[in-house]
């Protein structure tokens, strides 16, 4: 532990470095200013041509639903997705997915709690698991605050639910979401999570798109490195779908 004296010295040094670095930036930008003018003059007069990527965009199927789009996107990255009508069906789906697995961590999401209470199961459910306990769990079940159809992504806001480690440490992650939380694009979800300003933003937002993976060895795909090797998303679409 450092003495108060040392801490103050560090803080002073830090302020000095801050000032020095900001001054350096300003000085260098000032040096560039006359050259910037010349460059923008040229660009205004003369736009070069260049060989650009000639790719045709994939035609999006016109009437695909958000849920279906989400499912297709997630499965394209080795995730699994099933659409169910209600919480009871969701519970059945959960049981099918966890099979014989015994130690299942669950988050404090009210939806997850309700789903897991609505059916008989043999597994041991662990609530408020400590980080170390999670290393011994076979699966983790959480909700998600948003989902993105075009990429098959889940968005987890750390202040809406305690799911940061449950969705990461056990080798299987099951996420239960309501269809109404699915949006088409990342842009929309970025807007939604930040719309009440920086102070309201959850301190950690995690986007999850499929199971963990790597291509570091000879560019050969291997699924399941440090994060979960299996990702299952259960979408509750409701009676009217």
């Amino acid at each position: 532990m450092l003495a108060a004296r040392e801490i103050l010295a560090d803080q002073r040094q830090n302020m000095e470095s801050r000032q020095a670095m900001l001054s350096a930036i300003r000085r260098q930008l000032a040096a560039s200013a006359p050259l910037d003018v010349v460059r923008s003059q040229h660009q205004a007069h003369f736009t070069g041509t260049s060989h650009t990527d000639r790719v045709a965009a994939i035609e999006q199927p016109p009437t695909i639903s958000l849920v279906e789009h989400f499912r297709v996107s997630l499965e394209a990255v080795s995730g699994h997705c099933v659409a169910v009508r209600d919480e009871v069906e969701a519970a059945t789906a959960v049981l099918q997915i966890i099979g014989q697995r015994e130690r299942i961590a669950v988050s404090n999401s009210p939806l997850v709690q309700r789903v897991m209470r609505s059916v008989e199961h043999h597994a041991e459910l662990i609530e408020a698991a400590t980080p170390l306990a999670l290393f011994d769990c076979d699966a983790g079940i959480t909700g998600a605050q948003w989902a993105i159809a075009e990429t098959g992504t889940l968005a987890l806001e750390s202040e809406e639910e305690r799911h940061r480690l449950i969705s990461l440490v056990p080798p299987m992650h099951i996420a239960i979401i309501e269809a109404g939380r699915i949006r088409q694009t990342m842009g929309e979800v970025l807007r939604l999570i930040s719309e009440n300003g920086g102070d309201a933003l959850s301190r950690t937002v995690t986007f999850i798109t499929g199971p963990s993976r790597t291509s570091d060895i000879e560019l050969t795909l291997a699924i399941g490195v440090h994060g979960p090797a299996e990702l299952h998303v259960i979408v509750i679409v409701g009676e009217n779908s």
Binding site: L35, V38, Q41, H42, H45, F46, G48, T49, S50, H51
Partner: protein
């Protein structure tokens, strides 16, 4: 249309048949070709190696000579030299007058196939050549000037030609100016990927719009005793008959 020919020193001294072919093709396309004998070089080797003062001298001479005749356009059978003209303005960061003159001149300076297809609207120049050919996209022409479809359209109109697309048509041949002698092993390693594709394509000739690329490719083809010949686009477009057997490869 009155076109002023920018021959390039490389073609002038090492590959004059490209020049005479280019003149022939331009005339067939209805142009009056003038050639200002005061021209020497655009200064690209100096610019590319970092000798900007020398390059500036070349640029100023070039601008003065080519401005004077007030041609409709300036045309060059070289993508890289045409691109150099388009980069002249970078040599005058402190001189707005020269910069404007450079920009104005660049706006009038075209690579041969771009002039034919985009300005003159000509794709068929009455050429005939029998055999399979492939096209190599020279980097400056492709990426600095956007020349891609124009040579292909011209080649497809040559009677008797069977055009095939190399899988790596737009990959660099490895020339890169002084790079080819500063880093010869890397230059040849890059080249061999191109040669490999050319051999696999089973062509009689490989065609390109830049004499520097052609020199690079030809140098390796002859060293490896290949029967494939190299042709500049102008030579192909100027030809009237099947490939003459001037090449005694293995």
């Amino acid at each position: 249309m009155r076109v002023s020919l920018f021959i390039t020193c490389l073609i002038d001294q090492l590959w004059p048949s490209i020049g005479t072919s280019a003149v022939e093709v331009l005339r067939r396309a209805g142009c009056e070709v003038v050639f200002d004998e005061r021209q020497t070089c655009c200064g690209q080797p100096a610019f590319n190696t970092g000798y900007r003062r020398e390059a500036r001298g070349f640029a100023q001479r070039f601008i003065e000579i080519f401005e004077e005749a007030k041609p409709d356009v300036i045309v060059s059978p070289s993508g890289s030299c045409t691109a150099m003209v388009h980069h002249f303005h970078q040599l005058f960061p402190d001189d707005e007058t020269w910069r404007r003159r450079a920009e104005a001149l660049a706006a009038q300076t075209y690579e041969l196939s771009a002039l034919l297809v985009n300005v003159l609207g000509v794709e068929d120049v009455g050429a005939s050549f029998s055999g399979r050919v492939a096209w190599h996209d020279a980097c400056h022409g492709l990426r600095d000037l956007g020349v891609h479809s124009e040579p292909r359209r011209l080649i497809r109109k040559v009677r008797g030609v069977e055009f095939v697309e190399l899988h790596n048509a737009d990959s660099c041949c490895g020339f890169g100016g002084t790079f080819s002698v500063k880093y010869p092993e890397i230059s040849v390693a890059i080249l061999d990927d191109k040669i490999d594709a050319i051999q696999k394509a089973g062509v009689r000739a490989i065609v390109s719009g830049d004499a520097s690329c052609l020199m690079q490719i030809e140098g390796r083809l002859t060293r490896t005793h290949s029967a494939v010949r190299v042709m500049h686009l102008a030579e192909l477009l100027a030809s009237h008959e099947p490939i003459p057997q001037t090449y005694q490869g293995a």
